[in-house]
């Protein structure tokens, strides 16, 4: 265990990058459509939602936590923010770009939900798994209650721009994903808060004895994860054109998978958001590639499972054993 597994991050990042590269090369050989700019944009756009969730999840996992509620928060924020962005609600003819009110409401909702989990974990020492599993259920229920179980359709063009617009040909979701990644990367590697996140996950006792506000940091990562789940939720609603109360089911699994495939340890304190992004891309490319090849759905599931494990195995085998 010890030294070897601690050597992980550096090697791992490259290991999984190699897995991703191999997958891309294979796909571009077997499918002429894979390496088209249009398809690459597709993959990135499709990855953006899971990618953004996974970035938030990285913060949480770095502190030894987990956030199972992100899928439900995606749906909740979707319906809540969208309810301020329906053509009827907008009333005042909905500003064409960046509808501030719905977005602000969405971010706040996500952050609020995350904060509740954060309080349970940080203040009341409820294990993160339980706190966020409770939230998974509760937020879904709230979503259904708020939306009356029905989708919220007819969103304003301004709102839909978040999901379908582009800036200089690059779709907005991809830009948001890039932005979220860049900021998270900066925060985690360069700021005090970021380093403290690592410290709290790496050794909570040391963090406490060094005078860090351990509880506040624990709390904050859930709020961040909630807010980012909010961003993902708004992109999702804007992309699909209506906010669905049953959206985002099981998204937490893919988000956690991206984080772990990217080399972040569920034991906390070790990992990088760049790894997470590679993990998310690996999942995205796999989904896209298997669809491109027209692999039958049942076989897809088997192949996907095997590929994920193989990618990580390739990665881990590059390390010395125990």
């Amino acid at each position: 265990m010890g030294t070897a597994s601690r050597m992980a991050p550096a090697l791992q990042r490259y290991g999984i990058l190699i897995a991703l590269a191999v997958l891309c090369i294979v796909l571009s050989v077997v499918s002429e459509n894979f390496l088209t700019s249009r398809n690459i944009i597709n993959v990135l756009r499709q990855t953006s939602i899971n990618g953004i969730l996974a970035v938030g999840m990285t913060f949480v996992i770095l502190t030894r936590g987990i956030d199972l509620s992100v899928g439900s928060v995606v749906a909740l924020v979707g319906v809540v923010s969208a309810s301020f962005a329906t053509t009827s609600a907008a009333g005042v003819a909905g500003a064409p770009y960046m509808p501030l009110i719905p977005v602000a409401v969405g971010l706040l909702t996500g952050m609020a939900v995350g904060s509740v989990s954060g309080i349970a974990v940080a203040r009341f020492s409820v294990p993160a798994f339980v706190a966020t599993l409770g939230m998974l259920s509760a937020a879904r229920g709230l979503t259904l209650i708020y939306a009356g179980g029905r989708p919220i359709p007819a969103l304003t063009d301004g709102y839909r721009w978040i999901g379908t617009g582009d800036i200089g040909g690059i779709p907005v979701p991809i830009i948001l994903f890039g932005l979220v990644f860049a900021v998270a990367h900066f925060v985690l590697t360069r700021t005090r808060f970021g380093r403290h996140v690592y410290a709290v996950g790496g050794n909570p006792h040391a963090a406490k004895v060094s005078g860090l506000p351990v509880r506040r940091i624990r709390f904050a990562v859930y709020a961040i994860s909630g807010a980012l789940a909010g961003v993902a939720g708004m992109i999702l609603a804007a992309r699909t054109g209506s906010a669905l109360p049953q959206a985002g089911v099981a998204y937490e699994l893919d988000a956690i998978a991206a984080v772990v495939i990217g080399g972040t340890s569920l034991a906390g304190g070790i990992g990088r958001v760049s790894g997470t992004v590679i993990g998310a891309l690996l999942i995205g490319v796999m989904n896209n590639g298997l669809d491109l090849l027209g692999v039958e759905s049942y076989y897809q599931q088997v192949i996907k499972g095997a590929l994920i494990v193989a990618a990580v195995m390739l990665d881990r085998s590059r390390k010395t054993e125990d």
Binding site: N33, N42, P151, T240, V249, S297
Partner: protein, 307 residues
């Protein structure tokens, strides 16, 4: 001979029997078997966004037409719009989508099914007693529309009391637990069970058996005509309304080909099988595949078709 047409069948999810039958039917279409059409089935994994992503993939690959069984009424519209914008015709199938861009919709009227199944239950109860309703996942078009049909039938029997309505998420196991608990809280007050699909009705039957009660004391119905339900109908345990997913799939492929090849004549046999649903030269906006109540008379034939 032209290059084969590339048609995509976008199923909302393939893990359950009904969609499996629907998608498998596509491969049996004469145009597919003759090589005129190259068919690819996409599994939407019960996620509207995944379906939309798959539409993008089909657009990238230059598919000629798409047959679409949407996960969601509203969200499906965006996917349809994407395809139509790319010049690809989309034919709705099995489940509704709130879009006027569809070439046509080939499906069955869920309101009608909900009415028929509830009616079957109420008839057996003689418009007396109390029912429970096991609903689909709240907000899905199937749940909404079958629920509407349930209501219509129930309105005709104002004396019948609705004891409980709760979602069983189309799942037999969930419905079974639900029914077990209801049998505890209501005892033998329950005389009818309206399951919005067969799986859930079957779950209720198992719960009744587990409680040591007699299934024949209950009026039970479901929708879809899955294999287990056909067997249950055969033994008199429930009523079921067969939704002909195969016909929906075959019909939508016909319509889709027609949208690309204006001189195409339908090749599947369903147009003869259902004279109530005229081909109308592929010009109808809506093709309504009729429901077939499963009866002791037709059940053996139906079961034979499943082998």
């Amino acid at each position: 001979q032209d290059a084969p047409l590339k048609i995509g069948m976008a199923a909302y999810g393939l893990n359950a029997e009904f969609m499996q039958l629907w998608s498998a039917a596509g491969a049996k279409h004469p145009a597919v078997q003759s090589g005129m059409v190259e068919l690819t089935v996409f599994d939407g994994r019960y996620d509207a966004l995944v379906q939309q992503d798959q539409f993008e993939t089909m657009i990238t690959q230059g598919f000629d037409a798409i047959v679409f069984a949407p996960m969601d009424v509203e969200a499906g519209a965006t996917a349809v719009q994407l395809a139509v914008d790319a010049g690809i015709p989309v034919v709705g199938s099995n489940a509704r989508v709130n879009s006027d861009q569809l070439t046509a919709y080939v499906g069955s009227n869920d309101v009608e099914a909900g009415y028929l199944e509830a009616k079957a239950v109420l008839d057996k109860m003689g418009c007396q007693g109390a029912v429970v309703i096991i609903e689909g996942p709240i907000g899905q078009s199937g749940e909404i529309q079958r629920g509407e049909g349930n209501e219509q039938a129930l309105a005709e029997c104002p004396d019948v009391q609705i004891l409980e309505r709760q979602t069983g998420n189309w799942s037999r196991a969930e419905a079974q637990a639900l029914m077990e608990n209801w049998l505890t809280s209501h005892g033998d007050a329950i005389t009818g069970v309206i399951g919005q699909n067969d799986e859930m009705a079957l779950g209720a039957i198992e719960a009744i058996k587990a409680a040591g009660m007699d299934v024949s004391d209950f009026a039970i119905a479901g929708v879809d005509g899955v294999t287990d339900a056909l067997n249950a109908v055969k033994t008199g345990q429930m009523a079921s309304i067969l939704q002909d997913g195969e016909a929906q799939a075959l019909g939508s492929i016909d319509v889709a080909i027609k949208a690309v090849r204006p001189d195409y004549e339908p090749m599947s046999g369903i147009w003869e099988q259902y004279p109530d649903m005229p081909w109308n030269d592929g010009a109808s906006k809506e093709y309504n595949v009729p429901w077939t109540p499963v009866t002791l008379e037709n059940v053996d034939a139906l079961l034979a078709g499943r082998q």
